[in-house]
Amino acid sequence: MEPVGIDQHRPSTTTARSRRVEPRRLPVLVAAAAAVALAVWVTFLADGTPAGPATENPGKFVVTALDAVTFAGLLFVAASGFTLIFGLMRTVNMAHGSLFLLAAYIAIRVQEAMVGRSRNIDPADVAVLDWLVPLLVGAGVAAALGLVIQQVFLQWNEGQELRQALMTLAITVVLADQMLREFGGLAQRMVWPGAVTHFLSVMGERYAVTRLFMLGVAVLVGVLLWLWLTRTSMGMVIRAGVDDRQMVRALGINIRLVFAITFFVGSFLAGVGGVLGASFAGAAPGTDGSWLLNALVVVIIGGLGSLKGAAAGSLLYGAVVAFSPAYLPSQYSYYAIIMTFALLALVLAVRPYGLFGRPA
């Protein structure tokens, strides 16, 4: 019914883009004006907010900025696996949040077994290995389950995006229910290793070293991921696959194997995020849904399938999450969630496919 050809793809997108340039100017201006207004508000005007204007209370500002960056690190770890899987396979893995929570629960169990106590674990009793081994076990289980899901449910219906999304949604429902049965409904916590459980003094404010440690882990994950994707032959195949799956296949590369490995790594990243998240804020029923939301917001802002986008989206979203409760007037702090929505609307108005996204 329409002329079909691989080379049809590029010209049509470029014409679409140039056609849309004119009406885009207004949203860009609005976005720029909003950014400037927010900067002025935070710097000079924010009286009556929990933090106060940055010029009067620079300590609070620095702490909020650190909060933003460290939370962005966690967001990046959680979202990078999601965006990696989507970029290569066009599969929206709605079970990402479930894998996140499963890894958290398993890591908590393993840590309890290693320390030998099930409640009130003192950070001083937790050696670095008592944190690192549960991390690897939890993330490994999540990765294995992710691989099973991909092999059983997603491998044979490749390309049917909605069907895959709905299947993983159904898996989410089942997993959430089974985790509730197995691990109960109470919030549980992973304990940071004692070596990093200190406080620093930042411009007169106390700041937890654990958050900086979390950022460090996230940066390490990001660097390893970047090295894997840009410096190894497997990463080269994955990047080629993101650009053009058909061509990679035509060159005789076993893309099935590449898909399986990518799904394994993506699920592993979800698991690492889950263990970090459980150490940072605990794990409970519902954590899976809220972290699926976080991953979705990050990739919608940053653009699906782009690692750069995941980093940029994490920073923007992390900034909104950290700054809006601190710099909204006190009686309106509850409205912080609306700022997330405003960010999303603003980004989508300027770039419908996210900051670094391309039309699929």
């Binding site: 019914m1 329409e2 002329p3 079909v4 050809g5 691989i6 049809q8 793809h9 049509s12 997108t13 679409a16 056609r19 066009r90 929206v92 449910f153 390309g159 049917q160 995006e161 909605l162 069907r163 999304a165 709905l166 299947m167 949604l169 159904a170 898996i171 989410t172 429902v173 089942v174 959430a176 229910d177 089974q178 049965r181 058909q246 849904g289 809220s290 699926l292 939301l293 979705l296 917001v297 990739v299 919608i300 699906l304 509850y334 409205y335 912080a336 969630i337 609306i338 997330t340 929505f341 999303l344 609307a345 989508l348 108005a349 419908p352 496919y353 039309p359 699929a360």
Partner: protein, 356 residues
């Protein structure tokens, strides 16, 4: 189309179903009518808007349950008087109905306008984000949701007896069904299906693609708002947890069980869901094999997974396939004469095509 053209087997069966449903209050127990069937009609009405968006516009929406809840909350805020939770505007019941519908439609318009440049999987994700953010808005801003929800919401006097609520649900369901089906043949409906199939071509023909999608979403929001009003009257209360991610997924699951591209499927899926939800615990031996009420979500999840593995077209798809196997030649002839909307385009797009 002539009257004779409308007398297909499908329409006759549907007319018979409506007649049975009209007579149902004198045939079945009060529990079955007021609990099972009223809930089926309300959820079916809401799920039909998902089907409408998916079938005509290619947009699978997870935000419908949020709009469903917005209508309920707005009615609760406007209709209740002082002493209750929420805004307590204390308006007349029908003024509150108008207010709730207007707010829901405006919210749908704004959300639809923001999402109007995305389709398919992006739209699904964006509406999931809407749903969760909407839940947090109602959970955190207690001025409009009351701490722990708005309770003791009264129905307008006209709908006092429960059976009238059932008839209201039936009336709205029939109207929505007929309206959505005939919309497929109007200029707007045809343009919408054109936008679904090839937005670039439609744009170059002078159609405003984003506006068509926004209006479709707004219309769906209006209809689901009506369903939300029925729901809040049926429940008598509404709280933020009732629009959290779980129920949101359930509504999509209802649409999927029935078959996401069939309007009948919306009500069929709702019926199956409510039946399972209501009667599962009564089945003999069901708790022996570890399936108790508490594991209900696992059962629903497994059912959906099985349906998606077997037939992405849901129960209606399975029925069609069975019928096709029984009477292949006759079914082929019947399909061409129904005069339904344009066939859904295949979702395969491995080789690109001209879609952005």
């Amino acid at each position: 189309m002539t009257v004779r053209g409308q007398l297909t087997r499908r329409n006759l069966v549907l007319a018979a179903v409506v007649v049975v449903l009209l007579a149902l209050p004198s045939l079945a127990t009060a529990f079955f009518v007021n609990f099972v069937m009223t809930q089926t009609l309300i959820l079916g009405l809401a799920a039909a808007t998902i089907v409408f968006l998916a079938k005509y516009a290619g947009m699978t929406s997870l935000a419908q349950f949020l709009l469903f809840g917005v209508a309920g909350f707005m009615f609760g805020n406007a209709a209740l008087e002082a002493g209750a939770r929420g805004l307590n505007l204390g308006w007349d019941a029908w003024a509150a109905v108008g207010f709730a519908i207007v707010v829901t439609t405006v919210v749908a318009f704004v959300l639809g306008a923001i999402a109007s440049r995305t389709t398919g999987i992006y739209f699904l994700m964006l509406t999931l984000v809407y749903a969760v953010i909407g839940y947090f808005v109602f959970a955190q801003i207690v001025e409009i949701s009351g701490p722990g929800g708005i309770t003791s919401i009264q129905r307008p006097e006209l709908l006092g007896p429960p059976v009238r609520l059932y008839y209201a649900g039936l009336l709205l369901s029939v109207l929505a069904y007929l309206g959505f089906r005939s919309l497929g043949r109007t200029a707007f409906g045809l343009a919408l299906q054109g936008v679904r199939d090839d937005p670039i071509r439609m744009a170059s023909l002078g159609f405003n693609v984003a506006l068509h999608r926004t209006l479709a979403f707004t219309l769906a929001g209006f209809v689901v708002g009506l369903g939300g009003l029925l729901n809040v009257w049926w429940n008598g209360q509404i709280d933020p947890a009732s629009i959290s991610i779980g129920p949101t997924l359930i509504l999509l699951i209802i649409a999927v069980i029935g078959g996401i591209s069939s309007f009948e499927g919306a009500w069929l899926g709702a019926f199956v869901y409510v039946l399972v939800f209501t009667y599962l615990r009564d089945l003999p031996l069901i708790d022996r094999i570890g399936i108790t009420e508490a594991r209900f979500n696992t059962v629903i999840g497994v059912i959906v997974l099985a349906i998606m593995v077997l037939s992405p077209e849901g129960l209606t798809g399975i029925i069609h396939r069975l019928r096709g196997r029984l009477e292949r030649p006759a079914a082929a002839a019947a399909d061409t004469s129904t005069g339904g909307p344009l066939p859904l385009r295949k979702t395969e797009k491995e080789f690109g095509g001209t879609r952005p």
